[in-house]
Symmetry: D3
Subunit: 255 residues, 6 copies
């Protein structure tokens, strides 16, 4: 607050490992931040519970490097109501999830930030996020972009196994491949399974938790995952996310 300025020469900064004068200097030049939103929830018998946090964090850092922004600490818990009966799963209520995101946005906004990207590694976060950020932009002078694997269908055109349902996949070929690339020591491929729980056309309409449909916690085929696919898909995701983020930052009035 009162120290001499040291100009930050990088296009990105990690808010956790940086010092406060570095944050101050960075935001003064680049008033933009990226918030990785993870989860601690069941990911089948072979993936660690923090899979979504690991992915969100790794993607956020690479997107910041490819674009720009202050990377905020990954929130390690999300809105995981669907898995709440799997021992080990942690979940925020809708209200807590909303307040967490708002408080982080408010803190960053107070420090000068004017554009925020939330980057969800967990597929049930975007729903609550959509409503949360509407309340945020009505409160703060802040523009917000919510990103969750943009263009995934296109990107996964070469996957070996089908998605369980449109944009509905969990602990399967895609997530397992990314983890095999990023944290191979955490993946127990000997435990990986293929499970396509029965689905009626109406599953989206009821309050039946997804968790009660699956025996293993897997929705798709984890056995065909590989680190090679993970590497390709990870970098493709980074490129797509960096593009929408850069476009967003440069749009005259995106709101």
């Amino acid at each position: 607050m009162k120290r001499e300025t040291v100009v930050n020469r990088s296009n990105w900064l990690d808010a956790g490992t940086a010092t406060w004068p570095e944050c101050r200097d960075f935001l003064a030049e680049t008033p933009a931040a990226i918030l990785p939103l993870g989860a601690t929830e069941q990911h089948g018998p072979h993936l660690p519970q923090n899979t979504d946090t690991v992915l969100a964090e790794a993607l956020a850092v690479e997107v910041a490097k490819a674009g720009s922004g202050l990377v905020l600490p990954a929130v390690p818990v999300g809105y995981s109501w669907s898995w709440r009966d799997y021992p080990g799963t942690l979940t925020f209520s809708l209200d807590t999830f909303r307040d967490v995101v708002k408080d982080l946005a408010r803190s960053t906004h107070r420090a000068g930030c004017r554009a925020l990207m939330t980057l969800s590694g967990h597929g049930a976060n975007p729903g609550p996020l959509k409503m949360t950020v509407r309340e945020l932009v009505d409160e703060l002078d802040l523009k917000v972009l919510n990103v969750f694997y943009p263009g995934l269908d296109e990107l996964m055109a070469d996957a070996e196994s089908p998605q369980w349902a449109p944009m509905n996949f969990h602990a399967e070929e895609f997530e397992t491949s990314l983890m095999l690339y990023l944290k191979p020591e955490r993946v127990r491929m000997d435990q990986a399974v293929r499970e396509y729980p029965p689905r009626s056309a109406e599953y989206e309409m009821s309050t039946l938790p997804l968790g009660s449909l699956s025996r293993s916690g897997v929705f798709g085929d984890a056995t065909v995952a590989s680190a090679e696919k993970g590497e390709r898909w990870f970098h493709d995701c980074v490129a797509r996310m960096a593009r929408v983020w850069t476009d967003f930052l440069s749009a005259p009035d995106a709101g």
Copy 2:
């Protein structure tokens, strides 16, 4: 939920890197968890903003190893109102902080946990925690212990520099030494300073944020820190925490 049980043979488990069947099996045997509570806030010009998170997480793992428990993911943001004007500091409001802790306790309790230790790496968390956990134990069948550096005065008897105020220290000899031991690559000792901001006897009574008292963000003397002290103090802390936790778990009616 439906898989065959694989008996967990360890006395501790990391809820983030474990799979859900491992969590299930662990809690069935050991219904106890440890929640590290960190912060992302200014720690002077020489320490990273995640200092309190790093410390809480490292301590939690070692305490779990020395005692027992499921280590929950460290919450990387705390109640940091006092530093809210340092760019980079993130803070939860009292209500958000309370809800975060409650939701994590509820999730773990749902999975069978009956004893929880919160382990704060940040000195402003215990105040809100005290009231939070009272509400929790009125709601759940859960006993809770709040730990923040027990016996620190005794432990730091051999420190070279005095505390700024009783149990009031920040980014100084103690915290810097611990970080020099745990994350030396993150400590910029060339930026370390000694600052004892003026304090009147009444500072505790007003709403003047601590942040407005210090120029550097340091309250104490960071220049005399060393990895050696950090190592000694860290393990002494672990031992003290493990002792109160073990005593708490074995007490017949600790509440």
Copy 3:
């Protein structure tokens, strides 16, 4: 409460026009209810603002006739944040919307109802509803189904104009046709327009209100609507909704 029972011989009942003894008798035999959720919001220059309410109400009555249930009064306001800058649009906040739905479910549950279908005429209601009903089923012994035009893509295969975006249409061929069938006197076809506002691939990710994209409030082509299509589509919708509702009621453990 205390009068002699008059057995209700119908499979459906309108909770508004019925008397309370009729409601009592009906729910004693058929503990199921349908809640139409409408909106009062801009629907272009040619459709009345209550379009979604009219549609939800008409569909609910026909679905109840084709299946069964107590038809609750249509809620005439929804979650219409996106159109909040069009004068005339009324909107509930997320919290108010949630509380309204919860209070109606609680009241009906207190009267004996154990299965509830929400039937949204407004495309922005299902998002908040999904989270709302999860909280409801955790609180009450009630199973809930959320219905919003199931199978619409299939049903509209013979439409003349394309949807603006997947499942994203407003005041266009479909809605206008339904209104031409149900309330022709309220449709000003001389004002009907065709407008396909520009859309980037990212529009779903930002907080840009849809309202700021369109000049007229129409997303699609209203000019090609007809009462004939409206009649066909309306009854097709009723049949599809009645089917999922009947399946839901007869499922052993749909939750």
Copy 4:
């Protein structure tokens, strides 16, 4: 928002059946609105549950015609705690009722409205409303008038049956007569009863729900109702309400 203005030449408008450009033009000339507040609750064995909604809506339209204003959609549920044990009755909690009214006022205010009349058809709404609108006028630049049958004692001087208690009547001569005039097809006069539940001087002081006092749900004498009285009383009510509304709109500083 962006279309050419078509001057609204009427002194009133229905926000439900109007289009948004009509609302925009109307409010630009007449920044005043009327909000009918109904109920879905027991009205004895002979009146429909939506009696209060039907009355509030019909009165609002006529008052708007006699005075001026944008008629908002009638809220079909009110604060009906007293009847919550009659199957069929729907009730909002105090908080939900308050939030519903506030959100509608906020939406209308955002569109330019500066004067609002709430018109209650249900006798338990005015209590919560009084406190609600105080909070509203502290928040918005809006003046609010709460109307519930002004001058009713005077107006009913020629009734054949006495009120059960001062301003305390339900499903009796007055309400039944109005419904016989407005919706004769919905009134089952063969089921109409006369019931004066016992009342102690203290009934207002306890939390005993009115509902537990009456066998039929009627408080008064429904058997002496007639469409002729209903017609006279309805138009007398409209005249009185229009007068206070017009006075209110023209008062220099009514708040």
Copy 5:
């Protein structure tokens, strides 16, 4: 909790001046309490701001003596929105007022109390109280009676000055007389005035604060007050209140 019981031989007890074993013993025999609800608000130029608190407290003690009950400490602030622009007036919001009453009821209920009388000295408390105690009886096994000068019209038949409006009086003959009897040293009769602010038939319908109608804060005639009338009225009030309270306690199912 653990001391030997000393049987309380009195029919009433002051929870403030009593010790906790006395409270324990009293409630074990007489599970009934009286909560005086006062205000700190303008009472004209001649009466102290705590007039309503003084009256509620004195009445509560005498009613307890004449009937029975644990007298809780008088709440010195009420719902005084109407006077919020008179410097010196303190007011609770509706929510705070509600929570205060609820927490006191919950505490007393936890100690065994099963019947509660709220005794308001302030005329704007009963409105919020009515809704508050409904929520309370839905939550607790507690019956509640709200008392505010029962039978006042009858009792004041011999007053010299008329009420400003029905049951609407403030700092006038009645309140001033009671204070002249109870706290003569606090009444500045040389400052007492007579003021009948203009009232339209509609004043109850608008949100115009009463406070903006009166110059002095008096609504009625304070100049004709006397200690003699105060004494007679005070004891008459006590007798009426004690009667309804005793009836309430002995009623088999008053709720």
Copy 6:
């Protein structure tokens, strides 16, 4: 509000016994107030439950006389979770306590007050207060000082009995002495006891209520109390409190 000003010539005023014009005039000259925060809770077998309220009120009046300020009515209930199982104890939840303090601060601020001292007579109030007033100063243009027996250790150097724990005393020598000085008729010295409940080093960390540790409710030695000590300590406290209050008022930017 509209009467001629009568200049208040005193340095303090009691908001309860004063009239509103006196409050108006006082605050116009001295925009400062003192809020005594008491409790109704067990104080052993010999002290009245309102001990903390009596002390806070008496101290507030004397501090106002020695310094300056409008003395607000003492809040007779505090945050007394620890004693909630002693029949007679009343407690506010954290949220209610916070709202009460905020509403009183808001009311006083609306009347012109710009500096507020909270004066707690109860040792569990300062914790919640600290967080409460931070939210207050972020909302209002008000500086706030929280006072709870400053310098007590120094002041009690001549006590005959030790404190149970640092700054942790209840119904013992200190409180009993003060009450013997202020309200001797309320102290039952024949019931006074000496009790030092067992304490482990960890008692502060658990949620074990203090109440479950003590048999009598006393934490210390009440038997050695005397009015003489009470007189000396009371005036010493007043002097210390008046000093910090006066310093606070004159500090240029205390916040």
